[in-house]
C-alpha cells in the first residue's frame, strides 16, 4: 500500500519537525526574547547529541564512555553539558553587542566540530558512536517510529509549556524589557548581563536536548551529522519566518520550513544528476533569499509576538 508508505514518511517528517521545533524554541529564548545572535546552534546540538551518546551507548574498547545509562539520564546530561559550554562563551561575549556573540558562536561550532572529529578516545573520532539505544526501538518499524513521534511530541509540548510559563513570569517580562530598551532596564537596576547569560544558557540547553533526541532517533552519530551552517541557518529561518518572540510561531516555522526543505528534495532528486547537484545549491540560495524577504516585508513573521504591554513593565 502506497498510503502506508506515505504515512511512514509523514511520521518521519513529524519526528524531525519536532526536533527542529525544539531548536527553534531554544533560539526563540535567545533571539526572540533576549536579542542574542547565536550563529552556532549546530555546535550546541552536537554537544547534546554526543553527550547522550557517550552516556547511553554500550562500551567499546579504546573509548571512554559507553556507560549504558538510562536514556533519561542521557537527555539530562545533554542539557547540562550544552549549558556548561554556553556559560563561558556567554560570560565573555555578552558584555558586548550581539555581533561579537555571533562571531564567537560561529567559532564555537567550528571548535566543537574539530574536537568531535579529533578526540577519538571520547567521541569515536570520525567513526562516531553507534549502538545508541532508542526507546521502543525493539518494536516493529512502524510502531517504533510512532512511539518515537509521541516521545518527541511530548518533549516539544513540555518544553513549550515550560517556556511559555517562564516568559509570562516576571523573568520573561524583564527579558523583553532588556531587549527593547537596554538603557532603561539598566537604569531600573536590572542585572542585564546575568539575565542575558541565563537566557543564553537556557536556550542552549534546549538545543542540547534536541541533539539528544536526534541521536536516539538515528541510533548513531558521526561528525558529518553536524553541518554547521546549513543546520544553523535553517533554524534561523524557521524562527524568523514563524515569528520570533512567539513560541507558537517558532514551532510553526519549524513545520513550514522543514516540510518545504524535505519535500523540495524529493522534487530536486527527480532531476537529472547534473541539474540535481545545482538544484541543491539553488535551494540554499532560495532559503537565503527567503530570509531577506521576510526581514524586509514581514519582519514580525507569520505569527507576530504578542505584545500585552507596550511599555516595559515595572518590577
Amino acid at each position: 500500500m502506497e498510503l502506508i508508505g506515505l504515512a511512514n514518511y509523514a511520521i518521519f517528517l513529524g519526528i524531525l519537525i519536532g526536533i527542529y521545533a525544539l531548536l527553534s524554541l531554544g533560539l526563540n529564548i535567545q533571539w526572540g526574547f533576549t536579542g542574542l545572535f547565536n550563529a552556532g546552534i549546530a555546535g550546541f546540538f552536537a554537544i547534546g547529541a554526543y553527550t547522550t551518546a557517550i552516556l547511553t551507548s554500550p562500551h567499546l574498547p579504546g573509548r571512554v564512555g559507553g556507560f549504558e545509562m538510562p536514556i533519561l539520564v542521557g537527555w539530562a546530561g545533554a542539557m547540562i553539558v550544552a549549558g556548561l559550554i554556553a556559560w563561558p562563551i556567554g560570560k565573555i561575549c555578552l558584555r558586548f553587542r550581539s555581533d561579537y556573540l555571533a562571531i564567537a558562536t560561529i567559532g564555537v561550532a567550528e571548535i566543537i566540530r574539530l574536537a568531535i572529529r579529533t578526540e577519538e578516545w571520547l567521541t569515536g573520532g570520525t567513526r562516531g558512536i553507534t549502538g545508541i539505544p532508542r526507546p521502543f526501538g525493539d518494536l516493529p518499524y512502524v510502531q517504533s517510529q510512532l512511539a518515537y513521534l509521541v516521545i518527541v511530541a511530548l518533549a516539544v509540548l513540555i518544553v513549550y509549556l515550560l517556556v511559555e510559563r517562564q516568559l509570562h513570569a516576571p523573568w520573561g517580562r524583564m527579558m523583553r524589557a532588556i531587549r527593547d530598551n537596554e538603557g532603561a532596564a539598566a537604569a531600573m537596576g536590572k542585572r542585564i548581563e546575568a539575565r542575558r547569560l541565563q537566557a543564553f544558557i537556557f536556550g542552549s540547553t534546549l538545543m542540547g536536548l534536541a541533539g539528544a533526541l536526534f541521536v536516539h532517533f538515528n541510533r548513531s552519530i558521526t561528525p558529518e551529522a553536524i553541518d554547521p551552517m546549513i543546520a544553523t541557518f535553517l533554524i534561523w529561518i524557521m524562527l524568523i519566518l514563524g515569528g520570533s518572540g512567539n513560541n507558537r510561531g517558532a514551532i510553526l516555522g519549524a513545520v513550514v520550513i522543514w516540510t518545504i526543505w524535505s519535500v523540495s528534495e524529493i522534487l530536486t532528486d527527480r532531476l537529472p544528476t547534473e541539474m540535481a547537484i545545482q538544484a541543491k545549491y539553488v535551494r540554499v540560495f532560495i532559503i537565503g533569499l527567503m530570509l531577506q524577504l521576510v526581514l524586509r516585508f514581514r519582519p514580525e513573521g507569520i505569527l507576530p509576538e504578542e505584545r500585552r504591554t507596550r511599555t516595559a513593565p515595572p518590577g
Binding site: 558584555r95 561579537y100 562571531i103 571548535i111 579529533t118 540554499v284
Partner: protein
C-alpha cells in the same frame, strides 16, 4: 630544526597567510567601524572576488595579476549592489538584523558560486612553482607580490583616509556618526564608497588566497573567523590594527602546529578572539567596542 628552516617553513608561510588575512581584516574593520555591524558575508564575498578573477583568466586568457584589478572592480560593484539590495533598507532597524541579513547573503553568494563554478578546487595557473632562493630564504614570486601588494594597499588606503575629502568623511563617520551627520557628511555617499573599497579588498584577499593555494567555494568562509579575530585583535576601526592583527593571526596559525595537534590549527583564531575579548576588547591599537 635550523633557524633557516624555521623561517622558511613557519615564518614565511605565516607572513603570507597573515597578509591575506590582513587585507580581508581591513575590510571587516571598515564595515565594523564605519557602518557598525559585523559583516558575516565578508568571507564569501572574498570567494566571489577570487572566482571573478578566475573568470577573467579563463574567459579573457589574461595573466592572473592582470585579472586582479578586474576582479576588484567587479567585487566592488557587487558589494555596493548587495548593500543597496539587502542591507540598506535595514538601516534604521537594530543593527543586529543587518548582521543576520549578511549571514543570509553569505549563503546566497556561496550558492551562486557553487552553481556557476561547482565545488571542485581550481587554480589560476596549473603546475607547480618552486621557490627562488634569497640568501637561504625561499620565496616564490607570488608570495613576494602578495606581501608587496599588502604594503601598497595599506599605504594607498591610509593616504586616502588621511588626505582626501571622502577619506576624512569616512573617518569622521567612524569616529562619531552623529557628529559627522551634523557637520554635513553625506552618509549615503560614504556608505557606497565604503562598500566599494570593502568589496575591492575582499576580492584582493580572495585572490591572494587563491593564487597562493587553490580556489574553492568554501575558501572564504574558512577565512571568516581568522579575519574577524585579526580585526578585533588590532582594534575595530583601525586599519593598521587590522594589518597587525592579520599578521599575528597568520603567524599564530602556522606556529600553532609546534604546540597543538594539527587538526586544531583552525582553532587558533578562535582562541585569539576569545582571549582578546576577555582581556582587551578594544584591541591592541585601541579601537572601538560595539
Amino acid at each position: 630544526m635550523t633557524a633557516i628552516d624555521f623561517i622558511n617553513f613557519y615564518i614565511v608561510p605565516g607572513l603570507v597567510l597573515g597578509s591575506i588575512y590582513a587585507v580581508g581584516a581591513i575590510g571587516i574593520t571598515m564595515v565594523f567601524g564605519i557602518l557598525r555591524f559585523a559583516h558575516l558575508a565578508h568571507g564569501d564575498l572574498a570567494t566571489m572576488g577570487a572566482f571573478f578573477a578566475l573568470a577573467a583568466v579563463t574567459l579573457l586568457g589574461v595573466d592572473p595579476w592582470v585579472a586582479l584589478p578586474v576582479a576588484m572592480i567587479l567585487a566592488a560593484a557587487l558589494a555596493v549592489g548587495l548593500d543597496r539590495t539587502f542591507y540598506d533598507y535595514l538601516r534604521d532597524r537594530p543593527k543586529i538584523l543587518t548582521v543576520m541579513a549578511s549571514l543570509g547573503v553569505a549563503l546566497m553568494v556561496r550558492a551562486v558560486i557553487q552553481v556557476v563554478w561547482g565545488t571542485d578546487p581550481q587554480t589560476y595557473q596549473r603546475g607547480i612553482v618552486r621557490p627562488d632562493n634569497y640568501f637561504g630564504i625561499l620565496l616564490r614570486n607570488r608570495e613576494l607580490y602578495t606581501l608587496l601588494a599588502v604594503v601598497v594597499i595599506v599605504v594607498a588606503l591610509e593616504t586616502f583616509l588621511r588626505k582626501s575629502k571622502w577619506g576624512k568623511a569616512m573617518r569622521a563617520m567612524s569616529d562619531n556618526p552623529d557628529l559627522a551627520r551634523l557637520s554635513g557628511v553625506d552618509i549615503r555617499h560614504v556608505t557606497v564608497l565604503t562598500w566599494a573599497i570593502v568589496g575591492a579588498l575582499c576580492a584582493a584577499s580572495g585572490f591572494f588566497l587563491g593564487i597562493n593555494t587553490e580556489l574553492h567555494s568554501m575558501m572564504g568562509w574558512h577565512m571568516l573567523l581568522p579575519m574577524f579575530a585579526a580585526a578585533i585583535l588590532g582594534g575595530v576601526g583601525r586599519v593598521q590594527g587590522a594589518v597587525l592583527g592579520g599578521f599575528i593571526v597568520g603567524l599564530a596559525e602556522e606556529l600553532s602546529i609546534l604546540v597543538m595537534p594539527g587538526p586544531y590549527k583552525s582553532a587558533t583564531a578562535f582562541v585569539i578572539l576569545l582571549a582578546i575579548l576577555l582581556v582587551r576588547p578594544r584591541g591592541l591599537l585601541n579601537g572601538k567596542v560595539l
